[in-house]
Every structure is written in C-alpha cells, then in structure tokens.
Symmetry: C2
C-alpha cells in the first residue's frame, strides 16, 4: 500500500486551499451548517467577490460543494478531499510513531 506522491495535483489544490486562514474559517463554518454565499460573506470584511473567489478555490479542490437553490448558492462541505489530505498526513505520523517505537525498544533493550 504505497503512497504515490508524484504529480498529485489534487493534493496541490487541497493543501493550497487550506493554506489560507479565511478559507479554513469558511470550511469550519460550512462544516457545521450549510450556508449561502451571502451568509458566509457577511462574517468577513472582505468584499462579496473576494469570498466568491475563495469559494471557487475551495470548490476546485473538492473541499466544498456548491448547489443552487433559487437565487442563492448553497455551500456545504465535501468530505472526500479532506479524507485524502488526512490519509496523506497519516502516513507520516504512522512512520514517525514507528521510529519512536523502535527507538524505545532499542533503549529498553539496552537497559536490561
């Protein structure tokens, strides 16, 4: 089960999306409750257009799903991309835990 890293533009999109505080904050909001673009925008001092752009970035990374409902666009979180990012990071955590465990064993072994 090897993790292929080469040329993974999804990860590029996901991580660069998450590299912005406003976008992380938006993600946090919509993870709790689906919201229209306007409802999201009113929490920030940015212009409506700026928020719209941020949403576009998040959508492109498949972190959110946009769906029209009447005049409004309803935004909700999409789990897939986050799961992907999570999977990616877990690999390293796992690796590190293994190294620490081995070190621990080594030290414990030497002591007795």
């Amino acid at each position: 089960m090897q993790l292929t890293i080469s040329r993974n533009s999804s990860l590029d999109a996901i991580f660069s999306s998450l590299a912005d505080e406003t976008r992380r904050d938006i993600l946090n909001r919509v993870s709790k409750k689906q919201l229209s673009v306007g409802e999201i925008a009113k929490h920030y001092k940015l212009t409506f257009a700026a928020i719209s752009k941020h949403l576009k970035v998040l959508e492109k990374a498949s972190l959110i799903i946009k769906q029209r409902r009447g005049k409004e666009q309803i935004i909700r979180i999409s789990p897939d991309a986050l799961a992907m990012a999570n999977k990616y990071l877990e690999t390293y955590e796992q690796h590190w835990e293994n190294r620490l465990n081995n070190l621990d064993k080594l030290l414990t072994g030497k002591k007795s």
Copy 2:
C-alpha cells in the same frame, strides 16, 4: 476542546509547504532516511539553489530540521508540524463521520 482557527500562521506555513509536489516528495524522502542537501538535490532537475529554497520553506514550517554535520547540512523530518496538520484535518473527518453515522441511524430507524 475547540479548535481555534483564527490567525494560525503555523497552519498557513504547513499547508502551503505541503501544496508543492517537490516539497512533498522531499518530505517523503527524508521521512525514510536523513539526507544531506546535496543528496536530496541530485534527484531533481531543479538547481541546487531551488532545492535549498524548498528546504528553507519546509524548515520555516517546522516540517524538517536542518543540522550541520561537517561541510554538509543534514535534513530530517520533524513530526510536530505534521501532527498539527493531521489534528486539524481529523476534526473535519470526525465531524463528517458523525454526520454519516447519524444519517445511517436515521435511515435504519425508518426502515424497521
């Protein structure tokens, strides 16, 4: 145990570091074995200086640790920042699992 998202420049640095394929690849390499800058650089068609810059980005995000050994600088992975990113993403995964579970319960309940 609330996750504070506001103004978290560490997360900015971590995620924007991870948003680049070369840097993810470097991280992958040094997670397996500590390497000098030169040993890392020779695997890419980029210039030495470019790799040096990427390493600087990773170091600033606390994703790697740089340590001089003789003429060389030895690079190894640092677990802390990755753990932080992981923690961040887990929050959302957890949230989503909860929603799916609830949906499942709801559907199961209706069926009987």
